[in-house]
């Protein structure tokens, strides 16, 4: 034990070897301490500052995904049984709501996003899957899906961005939580897209691009290691937000709001639904006649 200690930091200075010590001085003396310091700087890089923290981060971060997924599942169940899904009586009159292009890029993005989420979760919880070639294959799916997603995300962004700018009433929508915490159907303050959809839009597209960039850096794996560590952190934190909104979006559109899924398939929404869920947009439609 002592041995290792003595060795670990042996920095004995050049001793006086012989009587002619003055002529034996080393050329260009550099102290062992300085050599040690330089090697640390070159080889360990930022490890002494970041290494431990990174290890703690990476070993504890998976559980947040687990908590989030389980938590949301609980919330959805609770919501479903307490408030039930939103059903709006309709008389059959439909208004065109999503154009073909919008629907096309939405579904392109949706499919690739689903692949990304699933394969991403597979990487995070690889241990449960036994690791190895299965997860390695899913990592490749993740990479492939990312390249597809980013193309759709760009077009989705262009297609929808004009209706996605925040409006004053969005705040109110958040305050009443979109009116979902109620069995009664009352109009909520929202335009063509409500505040929740807008949030999802920005996180999904702009955030998606950040996810793509950070993911690309991790795919390349050539950047300096401390940059990679940062990039991984961003990827994982943002991934958490994406996962959360992805699940909420999924629950809302497929289960919580009857007809939502239908409208994204057909492009038409019931006029009553628009009046209740998107009253600002309904007014606009009415003015237009």
């Amino acid at each position: 034990m002592k041995k290792a200690l003595a060795l670990g930091l042996t920095t004995v200075l050049w001793p006086v070897l012989a009587a002619g010590a003055d002529i034996l001085r080393p050329y260009g003396p550099v102290s062992p301490v300085e050599v040690f310091r330089k090697l640390n700087g070159l080889l360990l890089d930022a490890w002494p500052d970041e290494g431990r923290a990174f290890m703690e981060f990476i070993t504890s971060f998976n559980v947040y995904y687990l908590y989030l997924a389980l938590g949301l599942l609980g919330v959805f169940l609770l919501h479903y049984f307490v408030f039930g899904p939103r059903k709006i009586v309709h008389r059959g009159e439909k208004v065109p709501y999503y154009g073909f292009f919008t629907r096309f890029v939405h579904w392109g993005a949706a499919v690739s996003m689903t692949l990304l989420v699933l394969s991403g979760l597979a990487v995070l919880f690889a241990k449960a899957l036994g690791g190895g070639s299965l997860v390695m294959g899913l990592r490749s799916v993740h990479v492939g899906a990312a390249f597809i997603f980013v193309i759709f995300a760009v077009f989705l962004f262009l297609a929808l961005v004009k209706d996605m700018f925040p409006a004053p009433y969005d705040l109110k929508w958040f305050l009443v939580l979109g009116g979902y915490l109620s069995r009664r159907t009352r109009p909520v303050p929202a335009g063509k897209f409500n505040a929740g959809q807008k949030l999802w839009f920005w996180v999904g597209t702009a955030g998606g691009l950040v996810m793509f960039y950070t993911g690309y850096k991790l795919y390349q794996f050539t950047a300096p290691v401390s940059y990679l560590r940062e990039v991984l952190k961003i990827h994982l934190y943002l991934g958490l937000a994406v996962l959360g909104l992805f699940l909420i979006h999924l629950y809302m559109s497929v289960i919580a709001v009857k007809g939502a899924l239908q409208s994204m398939l057909t492009g038409y929404k019931d006029i009553e639904e628009v009046a209740v869920m998107h009253p600002k947009f309904y007014e606009k439609l009415r003015l237009k006649g």
Partner: protein, 193 residues
């Protein structure tokens, strides 16, 4: 049981890269995968020194701690190995390693990283000893043959020492005592005891 360690004597290392080439040739590694590398400080100036660095086979190895699938493990003699059948190539170990040891050859689909590759201390891997699979995935198993790792065996100036830590520490301490200086760089970082 003997504890296997590396020690590079930087007063002896002449940056000849013999260790690097011996490792690559011996294990038939793809170009771009450097299980071992040589770095130089103060190049061309007084005080120029070099050191040969690979996996240090740390005690409490950070790579083992961060591996999400438990693919990395430590043998009783301290050698840290990776099971390529389990590894998913996520790269966490590289980001956790103080020495930059883990390497990732390009895989097939979309050029994504394959399973992690790193110095095995020439001890092969989890596949059956001397099997074709072991040779293909991990390279030679010289430890099982009773030989020192290729890099240390090849070292032209005996700067790179590999083996039982008690023995190599003795060799190094003797050198330090004789010449009055020396740094076992990496030891305080890699080894606890």
């Amino acid at each position: 049981m003997a504890r296997m360690k590396f020690l590079c004597d930087i007063e002896r290392c002449i940056a000849c890269n013999g260790c690097v080439v011996a490792c690559k040739e011996g294990h038939q590694l793809p170009v771009g995968v450097n299980r071992r590398r040589v770095v130089i400080i103060n190049e061309g100036k007084p005080g120029e020194r070099s050191i040969s660095i690979a996996c240090m086979h740390c005690s409490d190895a950070p790579c083992i701690a961060v591996c999400p699938v438990g693919a990395i493990y430590q043998r009783e003699d301290g050698i840290v190995l990776v099971n390529k059948d389990i590894c998913i190539g996520c790269g966490y170990c590289f980001m956790a390693c103080p020495f930059g040891a883990p390497q990732f050859p390009r895989g097939n689909a979309f050029g994504a990283r394959g399973a992690m590759d790193k110095c095995t201390f020439c001890a092969g891997g989890p596949a059956p000893t001397f099997s074709e699979k072991e040779r293909r995935l991990y390279g030679q198993n010289r430890i099982a043959e009773g030989k020192v790792p290729l890099c240390a065996g090849m070292c032209s100036t005996k700067a790179l020492l590999a083996g039982d830590s008690a023995v190599i520490a003795d060799i190094f301490r003797e050198r330090v005592a004789r010449r009055g200086s020396g740094i076992a760089w990496g030891w305080s970082k890699a080894y606890k005891e």
